[in-house]
């Protein structure tokens, strides 16, 4: 991660904290809070909304950076990679929970703009699914946009679950992620879909019923 991105992430985090004190904070107030010159601030962000949007984009950038420090990441299974994606982002959100509670729906889920967070999240899902070699043939075939869209939507639901989770250390959320990702992995690794597809294909090309309806002539 380059220095500018690091600085932008720090400013957006300061912005998140400032938002809780005053949702209509000024850019100069943020510059003061982040200990940065206002001119430089405007080089990074054109307005308050940009700052707040970048808070969420920054989470994905930090997540990507964190993967590089995990030695065994390449050996992670599908469920471990999906858990890592969800857990790391929630870990990063944790110190800003109140900000997330107040803004996640408006800035990410129902945003009028096409959010970079959503785009980055879909890209990450694509990278995870497409790099996994243990999936069955049919599930590899299903690795398309709608799958990543559904995955992103599931994450939005997970954030809502996490915001309501009052268990110590968000243990319920951890359990939920564990269960959900194991389920997804089972689906993708299971060859039952392949077998089912083979059967369907066979019946399609060799159906005795289609011949029966036509009748047979000698």
């Amino acid at each position: 991660m380059n220095k500018i991105t690091e600085e932008k992430i720090q400013i957006s985090k300061s912005g998140a904290l400032l938002y809780l004190k005053n949702p209509r904070f000024s850019m100069s107030a943020l510059a003061e809070e982040a200990d940065i010159k206002p001119d430089q601030m405007y080089e990074y962000f054109s307005n308050r909304r940009d700052v707040l949007d970048f808070f969420y984009e920054g989470l994905i950038l930090e997540y990507k950076e964190s993967i590089l420090s995990i030695d065994a990441y390449d050996s992670f299974s599908l469920s471990e990679k999906l858990s890592n994606l969800a857990l790391t982002i929630l870990d990063l959100m944790d110190p800003y929970r109140e900000f997330v509670r107040k803004t996640y729906t408006d800035l990410v889920v129902c945003s009028s703009r096409q959010t970079t967070f959503d785009n980055h999240f879909r890209e990450e899902l694509k990278a995870i699914y497409e790099s996994d070699k243990n999936q069955s043939r049919l599930s590899s075939f299903l690795n398309r946009g709608p799958l990543y869209g559904a995955g992103t939507y599931n994450f939005h639901l997970l954030v809502r679950f996490w915001l309501k989770d009052e268990s110590a250390g968000s243990q319920k959320t951890m359990e939920f992620i564990d269960k959900w990702t194991v389920f997804v992995e089972e689906l993708h690794y299971s060859s039952i879909l392949d077998r089912g597809f083979d059967v369907a294909k066979f019946i399609y090309y060799n159906s005795p019923f289609s011949n029966a309806s036509k009748g047979t002539t000698s």
Partner: protein, 436 residues
Amino acid sequence: MSDFPSSKYDRGKIFAKTGLKVGTNYAKHYLKNLRGTDKERNSEFYNQTAEQIFSEFTKLRGTALKIAQSLSIDQGFLPDEFSEVMTQAQYSVPPINRSLVRSIIKRELGSYPEALFESFDTEAIAAASIGQVHAARLKTGEKVAVKIQYPGVRDTIASDLGLAKSLFKRFIKNKAELDGYFEEIESTLRLETDYIHEGETINRFHARFSTDRFETPRWFEEYSTERVLTMSFLEGMHLKEFLDQDPSQEEKDSFGQKIWDFFHEQIHQSDEIHADTHPGNFLLTDDEKLGIIDFGCVKHFPDSFFKDYLLLLPTHLERDIEKIKSLYNRLGVLKGDPETNQTEKKYFEFCLNYGFTFALPYESETFNFGDPDYKELIRGYTKNAPVGNEARGNKHFLYSTRVHLGLYHFLMKLGATVETKKSREIVENRINETVV
């Protein structure tokens, strides 16, 4: 990698599924036995059934797996093949997702393992009922063991014990008394899930047992929370690895003597007793010390109970029937006069003879736990225990018996001959020192 069933429904479903599998196995077994029995077939059957139960119980982790561990200690109740498979319960639970491990450490200790430690092995070296252990190295270079508690495991205590209690209540007459036993198990399990409590215990044992014969880990408080425990790493061999090396009798005796002395030293020095006498919790370290590695289940028995419990030894050695009878009455084992009540007589005769058998190692200066006749004798008593439909005995027997049986079974498995004279003196001195 597997997810953790924490809801009452999930766990109940696994219990039911296990019951169904075991039932099917028994039905098949009896059908086969209609054509005659043989030992090999029985052995295969027990192995298969035990492996299936084990495989289901490992999914449950938590309390249910603790029950499996207890069964592996109290071997008399189970066929050998069964106990062997159940013994694995200590080490061989499927570990949790590696991402979950990272996240738990981050939430508990404030940073991810790669930032916190010089190195952190993402593969667990042991995964047991409540948590799993990872090897790591601190930035100072010291090798440590990091124990991580499974998320939600604390919630399973109440639900699993609730299930077990409702099962027991179906065939136990004195239902009200059952609550006391379950409260004792629940409070012990709750303490086992508090790793700060375990860390403090580690410190106390380290202060007591840092000698040339025993080795206990050191607690790293700054790397520990209620759900993550970091302690120094003890290298060594577990009982199974030790026996696999085909040791000489002298080596077996030396190992056995250390574990025997460890238990009696505890009585001598304090009333805090390591109550999880499972082979997985003891090591023979590289410098031939006894390594003790798990301090989750350490019991502090009340003086009133502990003195009476210890008094069982000299009274049995002296064959003082009246004193023994009075002790069993005080300890809640007898509920009437065995002279006039047939049920009490049955219990008394059993306890008396079992007590004599347990006191046998203290009768002479040395005792050979490898004697197969002794093993059969212990097994015979356990199998023929007068299991009635009522709960009996002081609730503290649950863990004192576990310690005692665990120690004897460890030594029998090891086949060690130990010197017992000094330990008898320790017990007697402790009785004299205890004021109730």
